[in-house]
Subunit: 220 residues, 4 copies
Amino acid sequence: MPPISKAQEAPTARSLHSGVGLEAVSGDAKITRRSHNRLPRLLDEAARVFALRGFVAASVREIVEPVGMLPGSLYYHFETKEDLLVAVYREGVRRLSVKVDDATLQLREPWARLEAACVAHLSALLDRTDYSRVVIRIRPDDAPLVAAELTMLRDSYEQRFVALIDELPLPRSVERRDLRLMLMGSLNWSQTWFREDGALSPEEIARRFVRLLKTSLLEP
Amino acid sequence: MPPISKAQEAPTARSLHSGVGLEAVSGDAKITRRSHNRLPRLLDEAARVFALRGFVAASVREIVEPVGMLPGSLYYHFETKEDLLVAVYREGVRRLSVKVDDATLQLREPWARLEAACVAHLSALLDRTDYSRVVIRIRPDDAPLVAAELTMLRDSYEQRFVALIDELPLPRSVERRDLRLMLMGSLNWSQTWFREDGALSPEEIARRFVRLLKTSLLEP
Amino acid sequence: MPPISKAQEAPTARSLHSGVGLEAVSGDAKITRRSHNRLPRLLDEAARVFALRGFVAASVREIVEPVGMLPGSLYYHFETKEDLLVAVYREGVRRLSVKVDDATLQLREPWARLEAACVAHLSALLDRTDYSRVVIRIRPDDAPLVAAELTMLRDSYEQRFVALIDELPLPRSVERRDLRLMLMGSLNWSQTWFREDGALSPEEIARRFVRLLKTSLLEP
Amino acid sequence: MPPISKAQEAPTARSLHSGVGLEAVSGDAKITRRSHNRLPRLLDEAARVFALRGFVAASVREIVEPVGMLPGSLYYHFETKEDLLVAVYREGVRRLSVKVDDATLQLREPWARLEAACVAHLSALLDRTDYSRVVIRIRPDDAPLVAAELTMLRDSYEQRFVALIDELPLPRSVERRDLRLMLMGSLNWSQTWFREDGALSPEEIARRFVRLLKTSLLEP
DNA sequence: AATGAATGAGCTTTCATTCAT
DNA sequence: TATGAATGAAAGCTCATTCAT
């Protein structure tokens, strides 16, 4: 497999390594003894380090070492560090999309659907092992050479929320775009203050934020 | 003036280069007899570059060059790049605080006070020339050696919002902390999507967000 | 066919991929039953890239890619990049020799023979598709491990010019070695300045250089 | 002193370190004890390594080490390895020019002037310690980013020979451009075959080449 | 109050090459 | 007759920082 080039095609629905939402590739032992196909592990590590440090501060060495690779070996799989980011980001978007789609699929009531989507979004976002964190943490212009691509990917995901908010029955005075930006902003920003040992779970936070928005804060 | 050391004490209220909110320090000539004090310009540039690139990607060279200094000269003023960040961050917090205090000072009605604070907060945050942007853009753990200090500074500022929200008359079911995190999160995140050429001004955005929160979204 | 090793013997007269002077090997199908022998194409590319970039700057990747091979595959055919150079160089010398021999074969008059040899030499040297360019472009000590071998190959070719110059009837004062070094130097150096779109053809250049040497430049 | 940038101005006549033709900077001890101003030594080493290995094969590490510098320190003085080459090349051209000018200055007779120029040219070219070797050894397109600049420098030097040949009284049939290309080609190419322990000195070689050209080779 | 000249560590990337399959 | 996946070394270069002057 040659390096994944910048000119690479749009991802197929079932891209990257195996299934739907496997975070860490475990139980792969049966495939080969000497376990070559470290690419999935490489992506896992990249996701971890990008989410932890940001793009610029993430060093190729730090990504590659836990996989037992040498820095140069990365470049068999990806042409640049930026391209690696794109791969991780793309997978992050894919997983987020799958989770949100799965969560909303069975529901009909618009507010319930939005709430479920927010719960799925926030759970992914705050899960330490998830590629999705990268999608929120990394600003496209941290990696100028692929900024446009990242933005497109992010937008494609956010369309889901555009649609979900379009479904809501709302007072005419409400701008749906404001609503989306406010809601998603508050969810996304939680990455900066959320502590795993806090009192509230991601799910509970998401639910509360939606309720705060939905209901009136003016006294009874 | 010796380098500002890590062991330095908490800042006095009137810290840094005098004046209340001067962005570019001109007319400072009277302060020192002869020297064309370049430290203020240095801080301005640092604010600009930290806000633009983030802490890690900001290079000392890029900060120092527009001031007409050499990289090594920075170290007369600051012991480390981290210390420079602290100085800028501290000034950002100071300016934010001044703006929010000024905006709320004359108002009595709690919701009006909160709205005014949000307008001030967001205007600062989205103003390209403002130190305040650094306070929102930089995550404390981007600079681990001074992370604790940055967090303290930020917390000290956010106390204002804790207080403002405490004043609000609210239904008993509402958790004030959630409210604050949601509101500030949505404001802060706007740094990610705000474009100066967009339809809405920062002030208008802030007002709309507050109104969305305050009122009910359930149909009439 | 195992890799061509460093310990390999001197080349037979009819070395490499058959044929006399075929640049791109087509119609070789009868030689091996099924395989679409890519080794000739590999050598063609190597010649092109070595001539274009020099030995050090020529990367295995650049050579191998247009052939549709992967870098590792080179090493089925050659033990090292140096060995590949030797193969190309050897073929370059062979083709040069054939051309010079063919050109001089029919001629008897010593100056005519020398001129014909120079024309053949220079045409090959300046022909973009020819292995011969490598022989002139690459300095043996660019590839220290095989420098001696390259030097031997080059010397074997230059013997032809030693012989041709020995045939010339010359004033006793003339050192034949000087004459050869001067003549060949001026021809070889033309690789540096020759442009295909220039006014003069390689043949014409060679003829003029010989004439300049032969005749007196002192006024009539 | 900031790095010498690509946009750097045309060199002044007395560029680089001191005097006219100092090859190795010795006797500098009096200037500073800890001898900073290693830039001259850096250039000397660069000239040596570029001449020895060519541009591509010359590693920054090899250049810098004998000077007692670290690789990164080069970049205080030059923005890129290419820029270092330009500096060396420019100095090579300057020294060649000075030598040729000095050699021809006192002479009036055209052939004598040309011969003196060739002697100067070849002595420089074959002198192991001379920057001039770089000018002949390095092909501009070995360093594509500065190729145009190198070509300009080389052309500016070769103008001297254009002029010297223009002065010659020649039979009308002789193309002066051919004459120049032939003469200089044969001189320049001597870099590939000249051995210091050979029988002939550079001076003697140059003189013989000129004589070969000048006189008739047809029998008496 | 700063510069000139560098350091030392680290950076991303490229290279020729290896070897099990 | 190759490939897939990598290695190990080195490359050019950038970084924050140092320190004598």
